[in-house]
Symmetry: C2
Subunit: 340 residues, 2 copies
């Protein structure tokens, strides 16, 4: 019997389909592997092909925009939003607009063209996570911006147009609708219960209080990885600090090395279980100008791209997921290669 399940934050119902239920080996996927050996514009020695770097982790004595780096953050050469100018919001009858002001940056995660995030060392992943944080803290100073979206597209099926490992961030003068909806749903819960909804979820998942086996993937060093109760996508996985924290920038209480270790481990298990799938990652954190929030809990959402989104999903916001999260978590807890 299929099940309808409700996401407790935004109230989205999803269909956990049983007629169409699938095991990891049922997804026919082209494994994500580099198609070229480089060099591309993100490779070492090619620094002149990107805009000037904003931030870098470099060997002592090396010069900006030359070789000798582990990480570089550069403006996107084809930015979705422009950094210079004023918002100039205006109306046009029933419509509202403003100038497309924002920051669009690329975090080049390694000089190695052929690496991928799960193949980096723990300290390399930690350096990427630290670069996200530093850029968020810096962009917070620009009073035009309300939010910084950090995300990563891994593999062509996930929308990556360049294969060299990189993540991106876009700072916007508006809090995105999806984040607004999370904030609203979480505030509703907090007003009634005086508790953070994600803290409630973590507590329930840690107690394994579910009917068909748990949804916990791993819990380690103050971090929790779990498959959410009502996931839109098969093998969707969230990563959260076990203790309540609303802002990713607020390092206090989360060990960056531990976060890197857990993220890398989850990605390695996905690679193993699903055969190097494409995936998207996005960071959900409190808006830049929000004070510390008791009702919002920062988290990373990782979704392998195994199924196609079609007319039903686009038209309704309903999603059909052929893999119950209890099944996905079972595979991801073991992390064993899928049977072929």
């Amino acid at each position: 019997m299929p099940e309808l399940r409700r996401d407790p934050v935004v109230g989205r119902w999803v269909i956990i389909s049983t007629e169409r239920s699938r095991r990891p080996s049922d997804f026919s996927l082209a494994p994500v592997r580099p198609q070229s050996a480089g060099p591309c514009a993100f490779c070492s020695g090619q620094e002149g092909r990107t805009p000037d770097e904003i931030l870098a982790v470099r060997d002592a004595g090396t010069l900006p925009n030359g070789p000798g780096w582990q990480i570089r953050v550069v403006p996107n050469k084809f930015p979705a939003l422009r950094i210079e100018g004023d918002l100039e919001p205006s109306g046009d009858g029933v419509y509202d607009r403003m100038n497309g002001i924002g920051a669009h940056e690329v975090i080049i995660e390694t000089p190695d063209h052929c690496a991928s995030m799960p193949e980096l060392s723990e300290s390399e992943v930690a350096a990427v996570l630290e670069a996200w944080r530093q850029r968020m803290i810096d962009l917070q100073k620009d009073t035009r911006f309300e939010y910084v979206s950090v995300f990563k597209n891994h593999g062509e099926a996930a929308g990556a147009s360049l294969e060299h490992p990189h993540s991106q961030l876009i700072a916007t003068p508006i809090v995105p609708l999806a984040v607004e909806q999370e904030l609203e749903g979480a505030l509703r819960h907090f007003r009634i219960k005086k508790r953070c909804i994600w803290c409630d979820m973590i507590r329930q998942e840690m107690q394994g209080k579910s009917r068909r086996g748990g949804r916990l993937v791993l819990a380690d060093e103050g971090l929790v990885a779990l498959c959410p109760y009502a996931p839109r996508f098969p093998f969707e996985t969230w990563l959260l600090p076990a203790a309540h924290r609303s802002s990713y920038e607020d390092i206090d209480g989360v060990d960056p090395a531990a976060l890197a270790r857990v993220l890398r481990e989850v990605l390695r298990r996905m690679d193993s279980v699903l055969g190097r799938p494409a995936w998207n990652l996005s960071l959900h954190s409190a808006p830049l100008k929000a004070p510390t929030l008791d009702h919002f809990h920062w988290h990373l959402e990782i979704s392998p791209r195994l199924t196609r989104v079609a007319g039903f999903e686009w038209g309704t916001g309903f999603f059909i997921n052929p893999v119950p999260p209890e099944e996905a978590a079972k595979y991801l807890r073991q992390g064993l290669p899928r049977p072929t």
Copy 2:
């Protein structure tokens, strides 16, 4: 300069990107064409391979589930939801669930395996639109259902797993989140203005009151096709009755032949301008149990699948659209083949 634009119904901001702006010929697409000549389970003579038909348009004297039909509606052989059973809603800690009860039907639009909706005759398209309506009216009688989503996936890139022309419907015991959000946004507008927001949009678009050329594609026989002000996708097009109507089932005042003519014409122009792209179509109509609503206006949303949705969109609900709707409308008004 890129622009941020707000959808006046749900409040979603989109980025109309200029750095990345693209003409129709910039999208490299595999044109959607049938890969086989059939016969498949939806072809004439193969009726035994589908579940028994629920509705059909047939030649006089032919028997159900045999040849001699123009349209057949059958239950989906692999339904996302099951028709038998009770909802039995229950809680599990912070979570909510119910049994996956619903109807999932397939509308086989023609016996011709190799046809496509824009290639059908006007009367054939009208028969499809009439079948949607009849099924909605019938499913409305089942008090377990709150909503019927009608949608169509055309081409593999749009999620179609079978190439024989067909549309689908899913009846759900819940009003989908995307429809709820449209209803809420529209009610907010109505409470302040005492006007339907879509009626306001139609009025403004008909007057061509936009700064960079209009967004109207065509207006004919009581129907309007337009590119919305803040589209998520390039060449996204909406089709609405010019006069206010909240429910698609309510035929009164809309000529089905005219609707078929306008829909077919829009699809033919998309084929011509974009080189036979994949597309999704979805019908947005008032919930089944709603009375006639002054604030909701039924409409069809059609989106060619030209770009990939990636981490930024999934994480934020923000969309980056490289084609201003004024540009898209200009091409769709002309409907000429794209330059090669």
